[in-house]
């Protein structure tokens, strides 16, 4: 049974109660009216018997023919009534049977009584006749001279005696019969009374039974309602509780939990669906875990990629740096070589001087002295003429500047990768930008003009190598966006905006198409040739900036150029700056 049916049942039961009470009341009413009708019949019976007795009494008093006739009529109508009476109850039928037999018996007794009365009347007449006869008949008759008692009179007297005896017998029978009549009347009245009382009791009993039945119905229905309520509680409320508990358990993360409710109702369906859902969820979770693992792997490989990108950019930078170093080194070298060559002339001069000095000290001939002296003079003149000293000085000065350049590069390199990964508290972004620009020279070449608009910005807490990497990336992209032939400008602007520091790097290169713009920060998105770009530059840059609590955004217009704006928080960094200063 499903919940709807149960609730329906629960709703219908009270209706059934009311209906059944109604039926019971109706039946009771009908039964009571039946019984009341029977009671009326019983009362009619008693009344009939009473009337019969009254008429009988009248007859017994005056022996009138009218009373006798009335008795006969009443007896007949009573017989009619009795023959019509029927009862389903054995006891009542037995009482009726008894009343019927008494009714028959009373007829016999009454007939006997009337017959006896007629006999008695005749007897009286006879006695009267005899008395008259006795009076008429002379007591004695004389037969000649003798007077003898009249035999005729004797006969009359004997006849009178017999009549008197007969009268006594008739009287006694009359007494007996009257009492029999009375006794039978009483028996009939008893029957009627019994029937009436049984019917009365029946009414009482029926009312009581009806009350009992109603009570029983109420109790039963109450029980029924309670039972269905309990049933509903058991099969609805409790499973709902189980479902609730189950959802809570599952909510806490135990997706292996199953409700396992197998009832064939809506809750059973719900529970089955829930369990099914959990099965699905478990599968989904499994695939989610797999995905997480894959993601983890991806992350790992991404960081490897980032590492390699870094290596690549470092490599690129190193190539540039090498070139940067190579150029001054080349001319430092050639200068040094020139100086070295010059040193030969100098040596020769020094040799000539030593020869002269030896000749002077050893007392050589004048001629050879003169010769030697001339040679030294000539050499010195040549030396002066050839401006060798100035030349060497110049060469060495230029060599020194070349070495300075190299030293600076190396310093930049050192700064760039300074305290890699480590966070420092006070980093000068303007210095960082300068550093990067130095390193980016090979990319910038001569086509790009760099315009710096550095503002008064506080030192910030950051990882310098990472921030430098970001600058290098963006500046590199900007340089790459500028055509070789046309050339262009990169404007680098720093400024303080509230608690933040803003770095704007603007180029007037080819720009980014609007459909590409949203993708440029995606990892591996590149418009460059395979092998040229990895597409990771901006993606890593954004990651770094976001890790620093900052933001990076790009604006662009095709043909006009792009603006990359980096915002980094400076809060808390100002104090550090002052300390260092």
């Amino acid at each position: 049974m499903n919940i709807r049916k149960k609730l329906y049942l629960n709703a219908v039961l009270p209706l059934a109660l009311v209906a059944s009470i109604g039926v019971v009341l109706y039946m009771t009413g009908r039964y009571v009216s039946d019984v009341t009708a029977q009671e009326r019949v019983a009362a009619d019976l008693v009344k009939g018997v009473f009337e019969l007795t009254t008429v009988a009494d009248e007859y017994l008093l005056n022996h009138s023919e009218r009373a006798q006739r009335q008795w006969g009529m009443k007896h007949q109508s009573l017989g009619q009534l009795l023959s019509e009476l029927r009862s389903k109850e054995q006891v009542e039928e037995a009482i009726l049977a008894r009343v019927r037999s008494e009714h028959q018996g009373i007829r016999t007794t009454f007939s006997e009584l009337t017959a006896n009365y007629e006999k008695a009347a005749k007897n009286q007449q006879r006695q009267a006749t005899l008395a008259q006869k006795q009076a008429e008949v002379p007591a004695v008759i004389s037969t000649g001279k003798k007077v003898v008692p009249n035999p005729a009179l004797q006969e009359v007297v004997a006849e009178q005696d017999q009549a008197k005896r007969e009268a006594a017998t008739l009287r006694e029978l009359d007494t007996r019969l009257v009492n029999q009549l009375l006794s039978k009347s009483q028996a009939m009245v008893s029957g009627g009374l019994q029937l009436a009382r049984i019917n009365q009791n029946k009414v009482t009993q029926t009312e009581r039974n009806a009350a009992l039945a109603i009570f029983g119905f109420v109790l039963l229905t109450g029980l029924g309602i309670s039972a269905t309520s309990l049933l509903i509680n058991r099969s609805v409320v409790r499973p709902i509780g189980q479902v609730k508990q189950g959802t809570e358990i599952v909510a806490k993360g135990n997706i292996d939990y199953r409700l396992g409710i197998r009832t064939k109702d809506e809750i059973g369906d719900l529970a089955r669906t829930f369990d099914q859902m959990l099965d699905n969820l478990k599968q989904t979770t499994a695939s989610r875990d797999e995905l997480n693992r894959a993601n983890e792997e991806l992350k790992n490989s991404t960081s490897a990629l980032i590492q390699s990108e870094k290596m690549a950019s470092i490599g690129q930078m190193v190539a540039g740096v090498a070139h940067e170093i190579n150029t001054p080194l080349a001319y430092v070298r050639s200068n040094v070589e020139i100086v070295k060559d010059q040193m030969d002339q100098t040596k020769r001069m020094i040799d000539a001087y030593e020869e002269l000095a030896q000749a002077l000290t050893s007392g050589a001939d004048e001629k050879s002295l003169g010769e030697k002296f001339n040679r030294v003079n000539a050499m010195a003149a040549e030396f002066r003429e050839s401006n060798t000293v100035e030349e060497v000085k110049d060469l060495l000065a230029r060599g020194l500047s070349g070495l300075d350049q190299i030293r600076e590069l190396v310093l930049n390199l050192k700064n760039f990768s300074r305290l890699d990964r480590e966070r420092v508290t006070g980093f000068n972004l303007n210095e960082g930008l300068d550093n990067v620009l130095q390193l980016a020279k090979p990319v910038l070449k001569s086509k790009v003009k760099v315009v710096k608009e550095y503002g008064e910005i506080p030192f910030i807490a950051c990882s310098p190598s990472q921030i430098n990497q970001v600058f290098l990336n963006i500046i590199t992209n900007a340089a790459q966006a500028i055509d070789e032939d046309k050339g262009g400008t990169i404007l680098i602007k720093t400024a303080r905006t509230g608690d933040n520091v803003q770095i704007i790097i603007r180029d007037n290169g080819r720009g980014i198409p609007p459909e590409v713009l949203p993708k440029i920060f995606d990892p591996f998105y590149t418009t460059k040739k395979v092998g040229e770009g990895t597409g990771l530059g901006l993606s890593i840059s954004r990651k770094i900036i976001e890790e620093h609590g900052g933001a990076i955004q790009a604006q662009s217009a095709i043909g006009k150029g792009s603006i990359f704006t980096i915002t980094l928080p400076s809060a808390g960094a100002v104090v550090e700056l002052r300390k260092r200063a």
Binding site: R176, Q180, V189
Partner: protein, 351 residues
């Protein structure tokens, strides 16, 4: 969401159950109170109380059928009374036995009661258990010139003294213009009547079944039976000594309860009831069938009992059958309470 505590839930369920049960108990209690009379009745009728013991002097008469049925069907046992039976050939004899102290309870017809009540009033009628107005039988020998009732004049007729059949004979003779003086009347015990008639010591007797049939069998065509339905309405009653009524009125109620069950049985199972009666009377089923038809077997007390007894007492006194010429108050000799307690409907005697 607080975590649901299963024990808490359980305890609330138990509470609800307890509440439900107590409501039910209260309802049942109320019902019990409301219907306590019926329950009290049931308790009264049940034989839970210790069984009573009583001996019963049973007159083996057709109208004693209910007593026979109650004995046969153990209705007295069911009502909580162990009955020891002493059987007598007539109610008159069983009443004599009661008066002689042989049993405190007896079954007897109206005439013996009326007769004995003249000298003794230490017993009471507690209920009528049957009535019939066609019980008396006059059996006569044809070879003594008896063909019609009128032929009985001057004949030797015997009957049981002071019994219903005695009264029937009186009524029968009156009906045919005779009195006791018009016949040679003698008295015998029931079984002696049959022997005497068969032997020819008497010309006729007034008796009832089964004796009438017992005499008619050997007489065959020589015998003649006169009946007069409706002439005399005989009642048959349960009679109890007053000392028992005083000592243990409960036993009387129980006896009446057993008889009431027998009455219901007779209505329910008439064939079985007739069999029991036939066995009790040692009569043939065919004879019993007629008797059954003529008998009203009903445990009751009604006004007719008084009327009958008073008239019968008049007869006894008038006929000088007893030395005593003063009838007692029969109203005082009828004990109404016992039947009233068992089945008040059947008490219509004005009291």
């Amino acid at each position: 969401m607080q975590s649901s505590d299963p024990t808490k839930k359980k305890s609330s369920g138990v509470k609800r159950l307890v509440a439900l049960v107590s409501v039910l108990v209260a309802a049942l209690g109320a019902a019990g109170f409301y219907f306590s009379d019926s329950l009290a009745n049931i308790r009264q009728l049940s034989a839970e109380a210790p069984h009573d013991k009583v001996s019963l002097a049973l007159g083996r008469e057709p109208l004693a059928a209910l007593a026979m049925i109650a004995l046969d069907q153990k209705f007295f046992d069911a009502a909580g009374v162990d009955v020891t039976v002493k059987k007598y050939n007539s109610g008159a004899l069983s009443l004599k036995a009661l008066l002689a102290g042989e049993a405190p309870v007896a079954t007897a017809a109206d005439i013996p009661i009326a007769f004995e009540s003249l000298s003794r009033q230490d017993f009471a009628i507690v209920a009528t258990i049957g009535s019939s107005d066609n019980e008396g039988r006059i059996v006569a020998r044809k070879d003594r010139g008896i063909q019609t009732p009128a032929d009985l004049r001057g004949k030797r007729i015997a009957t049981q003294k002071s019994s219903a059949v005695h009264f029937f004979l009186h009524m029968f003779l009156l009906q045919h213009g005779m009195t006791a003086g018009d016949v040679q009347l003698s008295f015998m015990k029931p079984d002696e009547l049959v022997k005497a008639l068969v032997k020819g010591d008497i010309d006729a007797f007034s008796m009832r079944e089964p004796f009438a049939s017992q005499a008619m069998q050997p007489l065959g065509d020589n015998g003649v039976v006169f009946t007069q339905p409706g002439l005399y309405r005989k009642t048959f009653s349960l009679v109890v000594r007053n000392d028992l009524l005083k000592q243990n009125p409960r036993v009387v109620q129980r006896l009446l309860e057993g008889l009431a069950q027998a009455e219901a049985f007779a209505l329910r199972e008439p064939e079985k009831a007739k069999d029991i009666l036939a066995r009790g009377l040692e009569a043939k089923p065919a004879e019993v069938a007629q008797l059954w038809k003529d008998s009203n077997l009903m445990v009751s007390l009604d006004q007719s009992l008084l009327v009958g007894l008073e008239d019968e007492a008049k007869w006894i006194i008038g006929s000088k059958l007893s030395d005593i010429n003063q009838a007692p108050s029969y109203l005082d000799m009828i004990h109404v309470d016992a039947l009233k307690a068992v089945n008040p409907v059947m008490v219509s005697l004005i009291h």
